[in-house]
Structures are given as C-alpha cells and as structure tokens.
C-alpha cells in the first residue's frame, strides 16, 4: 500500500500554545518541503490562535518508544529509586527542603 504516494512526505506537527510552555504534538500533515510543511501546519492546526510557536519534523526522522516496550526500554532507570526526593529521610522540623 502507498507505493503510488503522490501526496508528499508525512510531517509531525508540534504546537507551543504560549511562550515558555512545552511544545505539544498536534497531529500530522503532508508536504513536499520544509516551507510547505510549516505553512500547511499553520493552516491546518492554528486557525484559531492555538499557538505562538510551531515545529514540524519529518515523521520518518522521529525515533520512538511505545508503552509496549516500556519494560525492556526503561528498565535501566526504574531501579534507581534514590533519584526521587522522597527516597531520603529528613530530620523532623527541617524547613525549605
């Protein structure tokens, strides 16, 4: 399927709703180049002032891990409970910690 694709490449769209906030995935668009991609993303996902910032990236350039692989992939860090502040014992009465 899709061998006759004439619709351009697939790009993922990320929107920053306000300055200072993280960019959030919004969806995807098709485009033939970077300029067309950012313009199509604007026309498709920000018709109502949804964003102050916009990223587009070719879908094929995204490397991902899904919840299914969680077990294998995140194992190396899951056993390091001392990374969390709640791991540590604190003396009674300590402030601003």
């Amino acid at each position: 399927m899709g061998n006759t694709d004439t619709q351009g490449e697939l790009w993922e769209v990320f929107i920053q709703s306000k300055p200072g906030q993280s960019f959030k995935h919004a969806g995807a668009i098709h485009a033939f180049d970077r300029e067309m991609a950012i313009e199509n993303a604007r026309d498709t996902y920000t018709r109502r002032g949804e964003g102050s910032g916009l990223w587009v990236v070719r879908s094929k350039d995204i490397v991902s891990v899904t919840p299914n692989e969680e077990g294998y992939f995140f194992d190396p860090s899951n056993d390091k409970v001392y990374r969390h502040p709640t791991f540590y014992e604190m003396p009674e009465g300590v402030k601003h910690m």
Binding site: M1, G2, T4, D5, T6, Q7, G8, E9, L10, E12, A26, G27, A28, I29, H30, F32, D33, M36, D43, T44, Y45, R47, R48, S59, K60, D61, I62, V63, S64, V65, T66, P67, N68, E69, Y72, F73
Partner: protein
C-alpha cells in the same frame, strides 16, 4: 505516524515471547482500564479494520461535505455571511486533514484512502448526497447536519484509539461555531419576511430526516456495533445518540417558530421526545448510491483530484526528497 525503527527491534523480541492470546488479553485489559490504544501498540486485525473503515469514512465525509456548502459561496447574501461560510468550509477541509492523518497511523496511506473513496469501496456520510437548494439550506446544514455530527463526535472524544480521540477533541472545539452559525441563519430568516420563513421551514422539512439518518441504522440492524462497543471505538449506540439529538433539537426548532416535519412527535417528559420511525428504504437507497447527488459528489471529487495531479507532481519535482 511515528516511525518504526525502535519498534522493529523490540517487536521481534515481544512477539516471540508473547502469544496472540496474551496480546489480546493485554489489549482488552487496556481498553477496560480506559487507556488509549496508540498506533504502534498491538491491536487485533478486526479492531484495526474497523477503525480504517470508520475513520476514513469520517474523513471523507468532512471533505465531501464541503461540496453542498461550496455551492453557496458565490451567492451568500452578505459579505458577513460569505466570510463565515468560507471559514466554515475551510474548517471542514481542516477536519478532513486531522482525520486523514489520524487514519494514516493505522498503516494506510492517504493516497490509498482516496483511491478507495474513488472506487466506491469507502463511503462518506449519506447526508451529503442531498442537494443544497436555497440559502436556508446553509442554515439547516449548520444547525442540523453539524449538530448531529457534534452529538456523535462529542461521544467519540472518548473513543479508545488515541489519534482518533485527539482528532475528535480538536474537531469538537471548532464545531460549535458551525452549529451556531447555522442556527443563527434559521433564526434570522424566521424573524424575516413570510417568504423567508417559508424558505427556512422548507429547509427544515428537507433536512430533518436526513439528519436523523446520520446516526445510522437501528442498533438491532447494525451488525458492527457490538465489537465497536466492546472495544470502545464507539461509546454510545446509534439509537441512543439519535435520541439525544432529537431531544436537543426539537426545543431549538420550537423556540424560533419552526415546525418539526413529523405529525407524530410526542413530548414524553421534560427533555424526551418520541418521533416517527425513519424511512429506512430511503436510507438504504441513498447509502447504496441512489440518492439525489451521489454520482455528482463523487464525480466532482475525482475530477478535482485528477486535475490537481500536476500540482502534486510539480511540487515533488521541484523539491526532491
């Protein structure tokens, strides 16, 4: 759609270790726990195929739905109404794009989806096979057709497939403008001359039943409903959603002096109405391709898709990958 590089590596490991039954159990546990299914998660073929059919039909409906309204852009009665209509139709195109990109995460290309539409293998909402004959139809379509669509889409925000659910949230935010602009047109006409009132009533008469048909066959005649409900693709049944829409819409009609074209409407309680049954012969006739505009709608789409081929070609040539 996210790529599959990492997936491929772990997928091999996973499928060799876990049986189909275990995968199905894990999948159904996730659904029962109200967790969303994401594109690269394991899913039964039947679930994927149901989504491919339903989401592409939904996407095609948004795009084909631009045609009856596009018919009135050049004849909108004021600059205000023309600008609104243009913005609404642009939204419908946008909704089609949200849905196509969500549907593409199922592993089918957009070209393929469009080809299935052109071959008649994929359907779109039958309601768009009715013609938009007067300006009042712009009111009736926004109020009733978008109103019915919203009722369905609000429910689908909770669908179990993540990309579909997210597209629905985005679409629902935008749709309420569509319904309000339609209702405003109807209201203004009902406040107008006798001719305008008759035109509005005529539009309601013609769009009421097709709008009720948008929810699909009775649950008892809807063979695919059961799995779709079990796997939470659909969250509410056709009949339930239709009744919700009827209960909302009848008071809206009465408020502006319109009469529902059904002599058997009975108010059962405060917000619950009984209506006549739908003419299912007409429903199936239109679904099966014999409505007033089926041929015209598809021919129009095919024509402009083909005539746009040179644009896509030159874009790809001038911007090699």
């Amino acid at each position: 759609m996210l790529n599959r590089i990492v997936k491929a590596k772990y997928k091999t490991m996973e499928t060799s270790l876990i049986s189909q039954e275990e995968l199905l159990l894990e999948f159904e546990n996730k659904i029962n726990a109200e967790q969303k299914i994401e594109p690269l998660d394991w899913m039964p073929d039947e679930y994927r195929n149901h989504l491919i059919r339903q989401m592409s039909q939904h996407a095609h409906s948004e795009v084909i739905g631009m045609q009856p309204e596009g018919n009135w852009i050049t004849r909108a009665p004021s600059l205000r109404s023309k600008k609104i209509l243009l913005a609404k139709i642009q939204d419908e195109g946008g909704h089609g794009l949200y849905l196509y990109s969500a549907a593409e995460t199922l592993g089918v290309s957009r070209d393929q989806y469009i080809q299935w539409l052109h071959e008649g293998k994929a359907k779109y909402a039958s309601v768009f096979n009715y013609p938009a004959l007067t300006w009042a139809d712009m009111g009736a379509i926004g109020w009733l057709v978008d109103g019915a669509a919203i009722t369905n889409q609000v429910s689908l925000q909770r669908t179990s497939y993540g990309p579909y659910s997210r597209a629905m949230v985005r679409i629902c935010k935008e749709e309420s403008f569509h319904q309000r602009q339609g209702y405003e047109i109807m209201w203004k006409m009902m406040e107008g001359t006798k001719d305008q009132q008759e035109m509005a009533q005529d539009a309601l008469n013609r769009w009421w039943w097709p709008a009720l048909m948008m929810f699909g066959p009775h649950d008892s005649d809807s063979p695919r409903t059961s799995n779709a409900m079990k796997w939470k693709i659909k969250r509410e049944t056709n009949d339930h959603l239709r009744q919700k829409f009827i209960n909302k819409t009848i008071p809206q009609a009465e408020l502006i002096g319109l009469k529902i074209p059904d002599s058997n409407v009975v108010k059962l309680s405060d917000e619950n109405y009984q209506t006549s049954d739908i003419n299912w012969d007409e429903f199936w006739k239109v679904v099966n391709g014999n409505g007033p505009c089926n041929e015209q709608r598809l021919a129009h789409h095919i024509k402009y898709h083909n005539e746009g081929a040179w644009v896509r070609e030159s874009a790809s040539i001038s911007n090699p990958k």
